[in-house]
Amino acid sequence: MATIVVDNQPYQVHPDQSLLAACLGLGLDLPYFCWHPALGSVGACRQCAVKQFRDEKDTRGRLVMACMTPVAEGIRISIDHPEAVEFRAGIIEGLMQSHPHDCPVCDEGGECHLQDMTVMTGHAYRRYEFAKRTFRNQDLGPFVAHEMNRCIQCYRCVRYYREYAGEYDLNAFSLRNQVYFGRSEDGVLESEFAGNLVEICPTGVFTDKTLKRHYTRKWDLQMAPSVCVHCGLGCNITVGERYGTIRRIVNRYNGDVNGYFLCDRGRFGYEFVNRPERIRRPLLARDGALVPLTAEEALKRLGMLLASASGMIGIGSPRASLEANFALRKLVGAGHFFAGVGEREHRLVGLGLEILRKGPARTPSLAEIEKCDAALVLGEDLTNVAPRMALALRQGTRQQPMELARQKGIADWQDDHVREVAQDERGPLVIATPNQTRLDSIATTFRGSPDDLALFGFAVARAIERSSQAPLEDSARHEQALINETARALASAKRPLVVAGISLASESMLQAAAKVAWALAKSNPQSAISLATPEANTLGLAMMEAPALESAAQTIREGSADTVIVLENNLYRRADSRLADDVLKRAKHVVVLDFLPSETTAVAELVLPAGTFGESDGTFVNNEGRAQRFLQAFVPEEPVLESWRWLARAMAASDRGEGAAWKNLDDVLGAMVSALPVFGPVRDAAPDSGYRMAGAKIPREPHRYSGRTAMLANINVNEPKPPDDPDSPLAFSMEGAPKEPPGALIPFFWSPGWNSIQATNKFQSEIAGPLKGGNPGARLIEPPSLTVPRQPADTGETTLLLRGPEPPAGVCLAVPLYHIFGSEELSSWAPAVRELVPKPYVALNPEDAQALGLAEGQIVRVAVATSSPPGQSKDGKEFSLALKLASGLASGLVGLPAGLPDFREPTMPAWVTISKAS
């Protein structure tokens, strides 16, 4: 720690930071523009000027930029010195010379860093009276709106977009007062993380285009802390609601998980909640149609079904909360609860879980991934599967070059200097996938079929083992050279990382990844392994250890159950339609709880309207095994209810044991923890419902929330009492505890004078560090560290080498290709996301296509061969699809898109034949 003196007050601060960060961390107000905690300092805007004095006797001092001055023991500065104050007022006046002052019609208004800084500097009256420069705005696609006149040239957008997110279709053009931030022409921003511009830009140049369509000021939003539902990484989000619809999602800082950034699927996928197709009333199938029921009728009906069932099973879901899954498990009984995923995914996730639990390589948080200085990715197209991890890995590749800068005495936050030293250098990142990925430009790549990739992984593991005995020879063979290079890079790294997942449905690949991690962990305890999981609660559901769908089908076929309750799940996305039919069409009674119609709700006898993440409380377990609580942003119009509450009511209605007595989330959690002790730490994911701050609940609404008494006046002039919240310490109100709540309960970031998202500074224990009181979330998986040498179970490789007979000529292996926009079920319902969902296609390497005499765009017949490997054969599916040439696809493979909304691809990998459509 170092002592610094600010305006004659001594303070203790961390030495590895700039004065600006130190001051902000102390809670002092000092304005800034070009600095951002995640981007570091460049000293461009001059807004953070302070007076620095040599010693106590120095009264003249000199102006320095706080963001460019390192903390040093005994340094004396003044924020309040009149010269510094005047200088800062002058700077903002200059920056705002051409600013249109259109706050009333600006979407940033009310949460604008420029507004906050203007007020902070006291620059209240404009003196500039000449013509302002004006610009033409661009159409940047469905997510981000552009209004260039508001720009103050802080350069944060391009620094984030180009240097942090690594995409180059946004730039600064021209010079002087004409500097323009945009693309060379109109068009969709190419980065999958472009939405962060909305928060990075301190003004209203880049704003949320989806919010614009149902605009609400921040102060008018009812907000709650939540967790993204669009992949397995569990990024923390803040949900904002008004009039019963979600208006927007913003990042919720969690220093261990997403930090300051989300992906665009997570930020813009929310609109599925607002779809008119939403199931809003219980529905009963009668004469081929679904007729609406009241909640009471529905519960009565459900009670009847439960009473008359001769055997009942429950099918859970990896996209439903732990609590909802557990409630269903309780209702049907542990032995009758099934996991709601197919056998294959079930096995894969189970294996993944075992790998993470066994260790010794630990699974890192996303924040730790950013610090990994060498990485091998096996099989995953991360940008399209677990997007935020791709952004984290990108930062990881900066670690080794940063080390060069550190050796020269340059601190990490001195961004310009670090980049000057690093130039285009990148630390090692090796990506082994069937198709090209969006990280390829900063990676060394290896292309092949899933088996090739697994073999590659095993070979790397062996090379690492060998390298511990003798240095690896250089090899002339390209493949071997790459294997050795990868092994060397990982073995010599400080914090090596292996990433794998279940995208390609290859157990061998998981085994290979584990072997690499194990080989590394033998000599380096910092070695890490991360597995991308596809859905918000994939890991949580797996930890419940319920059997897969195949077993559910078996139960129905055998006749030991005739009633099925399906929780937030479309089984036709999970498995072959025959299997789904086996469960749903053979059962006499099917009850489905969900929020959007699907093939599964279509065959249900009774459908119950479930609440989405915005309308429910619950817990998800992310890919690192972190249990994270999400809290309800608003109470949906009756009879929509969170799933676990429907199930609890059903138990109450039929007087079924313990579950009947559940009154709130804590009761469900308590029951879950005693039934499944593995979930013990889940209760620590957030304080329970009894938690109070200064005796009060925490308000979900800002204290300026307007129109409360009038917003429902068209229905009733009497202002209704705000709904109670029995489940959490939050209130559906603008009144309550005034101070900063614990991390898991922060409904929105706001602090006096700090209306923008930059208020996050005020909630951190130090800038860009953990939230005060610790980052939220409770890890459920901590492998024992390497004390006893462990020998991993060796299975994968041998089975691989004994691959089945070669396929007959003309048959190729089809692999799934994932799309950040399209492959995930819920976000595809969001209109903005839908605009970017590709049409179904079949992809071939250009040489392969040429050999088959096929050209781009041509309609091609793809038929799933009956000779598919055992356990993967599917009903003979056939597709006519437009051909897309994919030069990055390994030759010999066929690519088919995974999970698109209107396309049911075969279960892949699968053998297929390709021919011209007649």
Binding site: G141, Y168, D169, L170, N171, A172, F173, S174, L175, Y180, R183, S184, E185, V188, E190, S191, E192, N435, Q436, R438, L817, H819, I820, F821, G822, E835, L836, V837, P838, K839, A843, N845, K884, L885, A886, S887, G888, L889, G895
Partner: protein, 171 residues
């Protein structure tokens, strides 16, 4: 559809069809002098401008492909330099210094006369395509202010009266 959702996009084509053989040759000669392609950005833009008078959007795209950089990167450079023209200019570009010494020494009068005689404002081109009039920062000849350039020729100690004669020389 958005390009990011495409799979297997082609890398930008290296054959910039629109660049002429001479332009290509000259750029390649420059390329030989630097380790990185991007280092010749400014030279390449100047070469193209020498042949075409200005740099159109199409040319810019071709050049970006040729140099293996994004259009945004190249255009960021092109638009930063005020003597790289991203709009058509006349046969002769008149650049009048409007920096402080010239301003003190009578820039306003020079500008007024020029705009009147040529019938155009700063930033415009005469309808016969003969002249484009642009402001420029200090030409480094303050001791002989006010100053201007026509093409590559420098004129100093200007008075409004001298202008007619100077412009006459350029057809």
């Amino acid at each position: 559809m958005c390009s990011r959702t495409l799979i297997g996009e082609e890398t930008p084509s290296q054959d910039a069809k629109m660049l002429s053989p001479e332009e290509r040759q000259e750029i390649e000669a420059e390329l030989a002098r630097y380790p990185a392609k991007q280092a010749v950005t400014i030279d390449a833009l100047l070469i193209v401008q020498k042949h075409r008078g200005w740099v159109s959007d199409e040319t810019l795209k071709d050049l970006a492909a040729f140099l293996g950089m994004t259009v945004e990167d190249l255009d960021g450079v092109a638009t930063f330099y005020n003597l790289i023209f991203r709009k058509p200019v006349g046969r002769h570009v008149v650049t009048v210094c409007d920096s402080v010494s010239c301003w003190i020494m009578g820039y306003e009068k020079i500008r007024r006369r020029l705009t009147k005689d040529l019938g155009i404002e700063l930033g415009q081109t005469t309808s016969d395509g003969r002249f484009t009039l642009l402001p420029i920062v200090c030409l480094g000849t303050c001791d002989h202010a006010p100053a201007m350039m026509v093409g590559r020729d420098l004129y100093r100690d200007l008075t409004p009266e001298k202008l007619q004669g100077i412009l006459e020389k350029y057809r």
